[in-house]
Structures are given as structure tokens and as C-alpha cells.
Symmetry: C2
Subunit: 339 residues, 2 copies
Amino acid sequence: MEKETTIYDIARLLNLSPATVSRALNDHPAINSNTKQLISNKALEMGYRSNTFASNLRRQQTKTIGVIVPRLDSSFMSTVLSGMEKVANEANYNLIISQSLESSRKEMANAKTMFNSRVDGLLVSLAADTDNLEHFSTFFRKGIPMILFDRVMPQKNCTNIVIDNLKAGYEATAHLLGQGCRRIMHVTGSVKRNVYADRLKGYKMALLEHGLPVEDELIRLTDFTRQDGLDVADEIARMPSPPDGLFVASDLCAASCMGGLRKNGFSIPKDIAVVGFNDDPIAQLVEPNLTTIHYPGQEMGEIAAQSLINHLNGLLRISTTNTILLNYELIVRESSRRV
Amino acid sequence: MEKETTIYDIARLLNLSPATVSRALNDHPAINSNTKQLISNKALEMGYRSNTFASNLRRQQTKTIGVIVPRLDSSFMSTVLSGMEKVANEANYNLIISQSLESSRKEMANAKTMFNSRVDGLLVSLAADTDNLEHFSTFFRKGIPMILFDRVMPQKNCTNIVIDNLKAGYEATAHLLGQGCRRIMHVTGSVKRNVYADRLKGYKMALLEHGLPVEDELIRLTDFTRQDGLDVADEIARMPSPPDGLFVASDLCAASCMGGLRKNGFSIPKDIAVVGFNDDPIAQLVEPNLTTIHYPGQEMGEIAAQSLINHLNGLLRISTTNTILLNYELIVRESSRRV
DNA sequence: CTGAAAGCGCTTACAG
DNA sequence: CTGAAAGCGCTTACAG
């Protein structure tokens, strides 16, 4: 194992001071450009690589961003992370990624780990049962910036990055109404989370606007598991007057529900039209293809990471009222096309 | 922003030396247990957090593991990463994750970044078109350990973690034969990759063993895209004597192919029985449910990370011949059940 | 069982 | 435009 070259080695060989070498390597304006050239050539030649730890220790920053997500193994989250990775990479930041597995307790533990890793900033999407942001107070006190994305919560000095879930929920429901549905069921998740609460509100708003009643019987709170989808299908089959439209706030769950409905003899979209949410790959793989809301995961990840990095570089302040809304899109496929 | 407490602060308040505080905090055996107690209480009280950068700089290690995968947004890879994260987290290692997007060029760039980040070790699954491991030679030279998983390549001093893809491919094909199929098509990916080459070998072996010919017309090399699946379905529909069995080395592609086949009037499994690979969630969401090979992603991630960490801690040497084989399982569902 | 001292590799305020 | 010097916060060989 060969020894690492340091700026001292370069300095010695070039009869310069380590200070000058350091400045040149960091493209400091005060250094003569010939000297810079000389130094960077030598550095290359000697296979020099900067020691991040020494630099971080000295600069008192880590060049690391912490990411806490509910789960890693979802198609949506993968695209988000992919976007974050891209941006962070380009800006020479590293990502520390951890998952809360939808548990507030694990989220707290993760926050603690991130704190001890001294991340420069935090990118968080909340677990299903998180009630408040108390466990992030250590970050707020230290002035470490945090951005919430997708599953957010209003918080002073904390940018929220979301789509307009209310409007999306409204559009999904309105679409079903436009296809002639008059009795629409909505399957959603924990209403502690903005994403589900807002979609539900949008659903209700669409119904009311069309003079239809909001019936508790037609609203199901689930965990979006495969089994939940099947259960909902069975329930529907047992109902005296089953719904003719179904809006599920998750594609995966919508897909399993469609399977269950078919087993129960329902024809989709004839008997019951279905709309999902997220535009996961699954939407185009089930039969009939699933109508859904396209959710810009990659973009959301990129924007979240970029905003945080801009803030860290002083290029953008994360202020009190800062909410970034991304565009979504209703994508109509066969599962809901009736007219 | 309050100042960070350091071991000097603790030492001063306790009238001890920083050396003793450092040792106590690291649970050094030579330190009196009362002193340890005293120090750790004080540290807690003062909200002390160890500075990893100073420690890493001094110890000349980074406590960081680099991970390079073909893509982040696959269901299989998510579970692998989830397993790695779990193990790394417990062992106080951080993960730097990057994706090659199936490109050998990007994989080289990633390797370079990892090298400059001075990762303690590397966990890699190869891109589709990678021909050799030259771009990792800097790591080999420096003695930085590397473990290959899933898409591997034989390499001195490099553990490979895989399932027996040949046997799995054989079983998938033998299962179709057992269901009465006599003309089986195989859709696979880049045969540069062991996973696809081996499954193909298994497929051929099963055919030969049953006295059936291996026909080039029945072997398709694809990228496993949705479109590839549809194209294969269309090709099948145009064949004078279409296959009665289909083994696709990817669930996602198998699913889109099933959709295409149905559009072309094929009934599954009656006209054509289908087997996929990986046991992605999609397998249980398509109709009919997809027979597939269950692939232990989470476990693979855990074992890869654990092996690397054990090696770094000197608990296990990654030796020349080290290949870890994980168990897989053929899961029979409706897409292939004919008897 | 505890301490003094050196050093890991950088960066930067200060001086010239 | 360049340098000398201090310091970031830890760890550890050596000494006692």
C-alpha cells in the first residue's frame, strides 16, 4: 500500500509553501495562474487526492446530506433518490440514506444518527405515524437546514416540496365522475400525512361540487399493502350497492385491488372504473392499464437536493413561507376509460 | 449556534487528560471503570458528540462503504440496498451510493469518485456492458477490498455473492417442461453478465436433458424494457409455430410480455405458460399471477455489507476462491400451472 | 491505570 | 502574489 501524497509533498518538490499549494488547488483568486498550472500538473502527476477529512475538520463542515425516507423499496422513492444522488454527486456532496420503515420511533433514531454524523443538511419524507417534528429540534437549534419532501409538515424555516395533492385528488375524482361514475370509493392511507389527507379532501371536494354525498362507507383508511387491496375488493363484492368508481391513492394497492375485483367477477372499467396514484411502472403492466396521477419523483429528488445545496452555499435562503409545488399529470389509461 | 463540546472540555471539567477521555469514550480496557463511568456521564450531560472527521483523519480510515449499482429504481435493488443500509448502520458505517445506469463509462466515473472519497471498501454490481475490472485496479493496488454481488465477474481477492443462476434457470425451464411445454422460448439480457449467461445455460441444459433441441429462434437478447416485452409478444404472435412456454429472466419484462400476448389473443397459461425471475411485487399483481424465481435481495444486501465489514475488521479474509451462494426458490403461480 | 506530546492533512487570518 | 504559523479534534506510541 503506497503512501498518499499530500500538499506537503507537492510543496516540497515545487519549492513552494503548503499554503500556496492549498490555495492553488482550491482555485483561490490571489494565486498566480502560472503557479496554479504548475501545481495542478504536479498534483495530477503525483496522483494526489485531497483528504476530505482534514479539509472538513478544518472547515467545520461535512459535505454530507442526510436523507430519511419511509422506505427504500418503493418505486417512487427509488426515482426520488436517483434524482438526489445525481444532484448531490455533481455538487460534491455525499448522501447518507436511511429508512424509517414508516415508524416514528425509527425516524427518531435515524435523526439522531444523522445528527451524530454531523450532516450539513437534511432531506426528509415523514413516516406514517409521525405526529410532530420534535425529534428534529436539535437540528433547528443548531441551524442545520432541513427540507421536507412529499410527506411534509408545516415548519418554520423549512422548505416543503410537494405536488398539489388536493388538486390531484380532485382531478382524479372528477375524471371518474366525467366517465359517468356516481358512487366512488376512495382508498387512502394515514391521514396524518398531508399527501393522503389532501387527496381525500380533493376527493370530497369533487363529490360535493357534483352534488354527490360524501359517505363514510366509501372511504377506507389502509396501509396500502397487497392484502389491503384484496380486502377492499372483497368488501366491495359484499356491498349491496357497490361503487362504480374507485380512487386508490397508491398504484400498487390499486393493482392488487383490481386483481381482487376481477376474482369477484367485476369487469374493469365497465362495472367499476379505477384510478391509482404515482404512475409506478406497475400501472402499465396490469390489465387493463391503470389510470393514475404521474408523480415527478426524479424531479422532486433533484429539486430537494438542489434547494438544500443552494441554501448551504448561501445562494437561496429557506424562508418561512417557502413551499415548492411541482407539476403532476393525470394519465388516463384503460382502467377508467368508459366513454 | 452553540459551540460543540470536545474531549478537551470534558477533560478540563473532570481534571483529567484528553487522552484519558478519548480512551474512556472508546472503551479502552486500560481505563478504570469508575473513570469511564464518570467520563461517559459527563459526556452525556454536555451533549458531546464525537467528531468523526478528526477521528478518521487520525485513524486513517473513513468508515464509509461505496456502493455502485446498475440502477437505483428497481424493486430488486431497493431491497438489496435496504439490507445493506441496515447492516452498515448497525456497524457505524456510512454508505455512499451511486448508479452506473447500465453504462460502463459511468461505472468508471463512479469508481473514481469513490476512490477520491476514500471509501474503506466497495460493493459493486456490474453494468450491462462492463467487460473487465480495469477501472477498479486503483482499489486493488491500494488493497481496498471489493465485493461483487449479483452481477459478478471472477476476480482475485474479490468475493462474489450470487445465487446459482444456472440451476435456477434450469429449474425454471424444467418446471415448464413438467407442465407439458415442448417449445420453450427464453428472453434474456446481456450475456456479458453472469446472471443472464448462467440462466441461459440452465435453460439449454434442461432442454437437452429432455431431448429437446436448442433453437436460436427461441432465444431473445433484450434490455428487458417494457417495449422489449411487447415486441417479443408480437414476434411470438407472428411465428408459424409459436412457443407453448416462455421463460423471461426478468419479472417486469415478463409482465409486459404477458400483456402483449393477451392482446394478441393468447391465453395464459393454456396457450403459453410463463415463468419470470426475481419475484418482484409485480409478480403477484399481474393476472394471472406470475410464476418466478424468488431472489433474496434483502439478504444479499445484508450479507454483502456484513462480509465487507467483517473483512475490514479483520474477522474474515476475502480470499481468492470466496464465492457465497444464496438460496433461491421457484415459486409456482397461475401463469404456468397447467396440470 | 493515566498523561504529555506528536501528528493526521488541511485551511486561513495575518503579515509582508 | 506568497509564506509562517496556528489550529480543527481526535488517537496512540511511549513513558511512568
